[in-house]
């Protein structure tokens, strides 16, 4: 039986213990009913001393119901706003009660959970790291619309509230206390309710403790209102920095800042009303749907193992061998050791292997410096990594990850030589970014235990691992790779084998389209700026300089040797560009002394002038809209082809993989979700226009037409 348990003690203090029917307490219809009943009961009390809001669940209160929120649509914006206002009115009733109200925070109080705490007169939390406190809504395309922006702004001032709201920071109780989000912590759960009650008894005759600061006459907001002269610089620079950072693509963050600014100037009730109108606008905006869909539902689905064989039991990796201590290998060694896994980092010389291990040491030193880790723990992590040149050290590895050069012959050779060191049911993973797993597995004695484990650079920062199943890869091997990825705290997507898999293949189209634009005569700066304008982290030319044109050249060579050149489309144009730059002008990329750009000693860069001589044609007019769509549509179309041909097994893997692996703009919700928001019919029409104007690479994949005909979205 769900309930807000209501218990009055001999001191006249009522403890309301939230214990809703779902796994967590959440802001939904049931909450609305329970809170309504509770408030009525409290208001009917005659000798009430105070109220404690507590939770019977592990989490104090989980906040908004995203299943409900994701369905909010623009046509029913008035109903949505009304519902939100009703919920907020309940909170306001609790806030204005004539007795002290205390939040006894036993577990995470995030989003709506913390908004509930904010209406209380006092907040006391159990001082445990997992008791996270904060307002993370902005990460989901929303903002704290249940009074969170208004009250936190009024509580700690606009300058301090903004980063917490915009970055969605989750604080430990200790940090929340320091930041002024809560007023008290206790060191054990047993002390929580007594502490809450003690505060009420101490303050039962203190009128100040009953009235919220912002409800008092003459209330002055900490730091002053945003329109006071002392805040002029903040008022001008905060929106500017937000605009720069989000490139104007995150309407919810703009709205959050706007509401915070206004909250600092206006009375509570007016500010709450403004917050409600903006929240309704933001929640019904496609960006909210895209981000809730990607960063909540689909990410949960992916992390929940939707693409993992259910019948195979959990596979724990105990000892991992990493072959090749280069950039990728050393990063994989670090994240593995950080997860407590024993690591054998092998290269052809001990020196090379040690150099790879030194990378971990440097990262650990950084953590110590920042106070994120103590010396002992860092030493223990480093101690898990054995740098070696000896094959025998690989004995007993239940997982070996090969991270050597992208050369099929070399990879075959190494597989044959070292596969035998694996434990009987050990799994061999290849960290290739392009080469087909089925072909690589041909050298393996146990191809069923052979799988692709594609990491992204830099490994310690990039959250994704792309797992690739070859034709013969077993469910067991997949489960092993999947569980390992989760063990090292990465998000694994699972795809089927193909040249370039999903991420590299899709990302390649971004570079390829840039090459097309370049050769057509569009100014290279324009290409990179418009790549950023659509929300990609970096322009396509700049990123190819970083990943290296030389590497692209080698990849093309390898594909040619393997007979798979142009398997996914005509690569003539990019090969011409690579030839012009790398072969004819020695411009292999940033780490080869420069590529499309020249890199100067002072850290700046500028376009290599030869690039303009080669391609730039002032008379060429391609509209910004077309350039932006071309850079976006190529990637979207490729992702759709991957879905159509079964390379992608699920839409969720496609969206999450595109965002976390190749930087698909977060506001789109991923490259496949992009089509849903664009509208399937509109997308087909735009593809027709683009293919007519720019070529067959923009022909709309059939899968979109099929879905459009059946009226289905990509879910």
């Amino acid at each position: 039986m769900s309930a807000f348990h209501y218990e009055k003690d001999q001191d006249g203090i009522v403890t309301v213990t939230m214990d809703m029917s779902g796994p967590v307490n959440a802001m939904n219809d049931e909450y609305h009913r329970l809170m309504g009943e509770t408030l009525a009961k409290l208001e009917a009390e005659s000798d009430l001393t105070g109220v404690v809001i507590a939770s019977a669940k592990k989490v104090f209160f989980a906040g908004g119901d995203l299943t409900m929120l994701v369905q909010a649509d623009a046509e029913n914006v008035d109903t949505f706003r009304e519902n939100t206002e009703n919920m907020k009115a309940g909170l306001r009733t609790l806030e204005t009660m004539q007795v002290p109200v205390v939040a006894a925070i036993n577990g995470a109080a995030l989003g709506g959970g913390y908004e509930l705490c904010l209406v209380c007169n006092h907040r006391v939390a159990f001082n445990l790291k997992s008791v996270q406190i904060g307002l993370p809504e902005c990460g989901l395309g929303l903002f704290p619309g249940g009074g969170g922006v208004v009250r936190l702004t009024k509580k700690i001032g606009v300058e301090k509230a903004l980063p917490l709201i915009l970055e969605g920071k989750r604080l430990t109780p200790a940090k929340a206390l320091a930041a002024g989000l809560i007023e008290q912590t206790v060191d054990s759960l047993d002390e929580l309710l007594p502490a809450a009650k003690a505060w009420i008894l101490e303050n039962k005759d203190n009128e100040d403790a009953v009235v919220q600061p912002w409800d008092k006459k003459g209330f002055k907001i900490p730091g002053g209102p945003i329109n006071s002269p002392r805040n002029a610089q903040l008022a001008a620079m905060a929106p500017t920095m937000l605009n720069q950072k989000t490139r104007g693509l995150m309407p919810h963050m703009t709205a959050a800042m706007d509401v915070a600014f206004q909250s600092s100037m206006l009375d509570l009730e007016t500010a709450l009303r403004i917050e409600g109108r903006e929240f309704a606008r933001v929640a019904t905006n496609p960006v909210a749907k895209n981000m809730i869909n990607a960063f909540f539902f689909q990410l949960n689905k992916v992390n929940g193992g939707a693409s993992r064989p259910q019948e195979v039991e959990k596979q724990l990796t105990k000892k991992v061998g990493i072959l090749g201590a280069g950039m990728m290998g050393q990063g994989i060694a670090y994240v593995s050791a950080m997860a407590g896994i024993e690591v054998v980092l092998k290269d052809i010389s001990l020196e090379a292997a040690e150099k790879g291990k030194a990378y971990s040491e440097a990262l650990l030193q950084k953590r110590i410096k920042r106070g994120q880790m103590d010396e002992d723990k860092a030493a223990a992590v480093l101690g898990l990594i054995k740098a070696t040149a000896e094959n025998d050290d690989l004995a007993g590895c239940d997982l070996i990850i090969e991270a050597v050069f992208e050369n099929i012959g070399l990879k075959h050779e190494i597989t044959k030589e070292l596969e035998g060191y694996l434990t009987a049911d050990g799994v061999w993973g290849s960290n290739t970014s392009t080469l087909p797993i089925t072909q690589l597995a041909e050298a393996a004695a146990k191809p069923e235990n052979f799988i692709g484990v594609h990491f992204f650079s830099p490994v310690d920062k990039m959250p994704l691992v792309e797992i690739i199943c070859g034709e013969k890869t077993s469910d067991m091997a997949l489960a092993k790779a999947f569980d390992y990825a989760q063990q090292i705290r990465k998000t694994p997507i699972v795809v089927n084998d193909s040249l370039g898999f999903f991420t590299s293949r899709t990302f390649g189209t971004y570079l390829d389209e840039a090459a097309n634009l370049l050769v057509e005569g569009v100014h290279p700066i324009k290409i990179d700026n418009l790549g950023k304008a659509i929300g990609m982290p970096v322009g396509p030319l700049q990123i190819q300089d970083e990943t290296s044109l030389e590497l692209s050249r080698k990849a093309q060579e390898t594909w040619k040797e393997m007979g798979v050149l142009d398997k996914w489309g005509d690569g003539t144009v990019i090969r011409r560009v690579i030839k012009d730059l790398v072969e004819d002008n020695g411009r292999g990329g940033r780490h080869h002394g420069g590529g499309y750009y020249e890199y100067h000693d002072d850290g700046t860069k500028s376009i290599w002038p030869g690039l303009l001589d080669l391609y730039y044609d002032e008379s060429v007019q391609v509209s910004d809209e077309d350039i932006k769509d071309r850079l976006m549509f190529r990637q979207v179309i490729e992702a759709l082809k991957c879905l159509e041909s079964g390379v992608l097994r699920t839409v969720a893997d496609g969206n999450i993989g595109s965002i976390f692996g190749i930087g698909a703009p977060a506001h789109t919700g991923g490259f496949i979700q992009y089509v849903n928001t664009y509208g399937l019919d509109n997308f087909i029409q735009r593809c027709d226009e683009l293919s007519e104007k720019y070529g067959d690479r923009f022909v709309c994949p059939d899968i979109v037409k099929q879905r459009a005909a059946s009226g289905e979205l990509f879910a």
């Binding site: 002029a232 620079m237 500017t240 700066i525």
Partner: protein, 402 residues
């Protein structure tokens, strides 16, 4: 047929540094303006009850400059109580907007005699005191991609390829021309000394001009907007001007308009007003124009405004003898000359705001007196006055001698 808007007189205060150590810092804006009105009255033996309206531009109309300072000035000057007053704000165009509006009032026949000009005590009411959505409203700023003017000026320089040397050379010439004009008495006809309540002179002539400014001195100044650009404004404007990979920050205090205190007043009336009061017209307002262009780069409006003004007047570039473009930033003047294909030798012949300063709301009125004096001195006929304006606007006005 509309009436002709005659210019019967045009005067201004000297300009001085708009900071605490400026000569006019001690003067209240309402006194600065009232002093000028009193001079206008004395010079023309004016029956003030004949004046229909006083229009004053003011860009910081708050605090001491708040509450319709034009009407306060009228009262403070002891003008007849029948005289109305209105303050207007079209950013840096305010003074010239006042002149154009006064001319329209007279031309329409609704009014016979109007005073137009502006007042700005930047030392007492600093720039930005009036707030506004542009620099403080996240929703507006992010929606429109706002960047400050200086970033726009640097972007114009980057787009047009004006180097630091180009803009400094222009600035040096402005200083030399202004010093030469002042020292040879070219400004004496219209610059009215500012006096205190005892009639003692507080400031007689412009004292912001820096004679003998060299390229070396200018070259040593630090770019004013570089740091601001790094905080995000450069990236924001590059989103719009996406053929640029960086903004070349060339503007410094040396090649941008000076922050000063000052006021201006122009007496504009009908033929009938001249007859009734026995005034001799010095010139007339031929036409005026207002335009708006890209609000982000903000400062590219003057060229298009001048072209529109020529069209309205039924004239061509050849009909204009002298050109005056407010030197908000050197790149603005360089862009203006490029847009209109005119030479520096006929543009800002006595220097401009880089040397003398730009008392925001008053500047437009100052330009009228500067040009009228110079047309008379050189015995020439016609001048075009233009200013760049916040929000991408541009304003122009053609005056000619009668």
């Amino acid at each position: 047929m509309s009436n002709t808007a005659f210019i019967y007189d045009a005067i201004r205060t000297p300009r001085s540094k708009g900071k605490a150590d400026g000569s006019l810092h001690e003067v209240k804006p309402v006194d600065l303006g009232a002093g000028l009105l009193r001079s206008l009255q004395e010079r023309n033996d004016l029956d003030t009850s004949y004046v229909d309206d006083v229009i004053m531009g003011c860009v910081g109309p708050v605090g001491e400059q708040g509450a319709d300072i034009a009407k306060s000035m009228v009262q403070n000057a002891d003008w007849d109580e029948s005289v109305a007053g209105v303050q207007l704000n079209r950013f840096c165009a305010s003074g010239l907007e006042a002149v154009n509006t006064a001319a329209q009032k007279v031309a329409s026949g609704w009014e016979q005699l109007v005073v137009a000009g502006g007042v700005e005590s930047m030392s007492r009411v600093p720039m930005g005191s009036d707030g506004g959505a542009m620099g403080s409203d996240p929703a507006f700023m992010i929606k429109t991609g706002f960047v400050p003017q200086g970033i726009g000026a640097d972007t114009i320089a980057t787009l047009d390829g004006y180097s630091r040397e180009d803009v400094d050379a222009f600035a040096m010439e402005s200083q030399n021309r202004a010093a030469h004009a002042r020292d040879n008495g070219y400004f004496d006809k219209s610059v009215v000394p500012v006096r205190d309540a005892n009639n003692e002179v507080i400031l007689e002539r412009d004292d912001f001009i820096k004679p003998g400014t060299t390229m070396e001195v200018l070259g040593n100044l630090r770019a004013s907007f570089e740091q601001m650009g790094q905080y995000g404004f450069d990236d924001i404007i590059i989103r719009k001007y996406n053929q640029l990979d960086r903004i070349n920050h060339v503007h410094t205090p040396g090649n941008s308009s000076g922050i000063v205190d000052g006021a201006s007043a122009v007496l504009i009336g009908s033929e009938q007003a001249g007859k009734d009061l026995g005034l001799k017209a010095r010139g007339r307002v031929v036409a005026g124009a207002i335009v708006s262009s890209d609000p982000i780069i903000m400062l590219a409006g003057p060229g298009p405004a001048a072209k529109k003004c020529l069209k309205t007047a039924g004239m061509t570039e050849q009909d204009i003898d002298l050109w005056e473009i407010n030197e908000a930033f050197a790149s603005v003047a360089l862009r203006y000359m490029r847009d209109l294909d005119i030479d520096h030798s006929v543009t800002n012949v006595n220097g401009g705001s880089i040397a003398m300063g730009h008392p925001l709301g008053a500047t437009g009125g100052c330009l009228v007196s500067t040009m009228l004096d110079e047309l008379e001195r050189q015995d020439k006929q016609r001048a075009m006055l233009s200013l760049c304006v916040g929000g991408g606007m541009g304003i122009s006005c053609i005056i000619e001698r009668t």
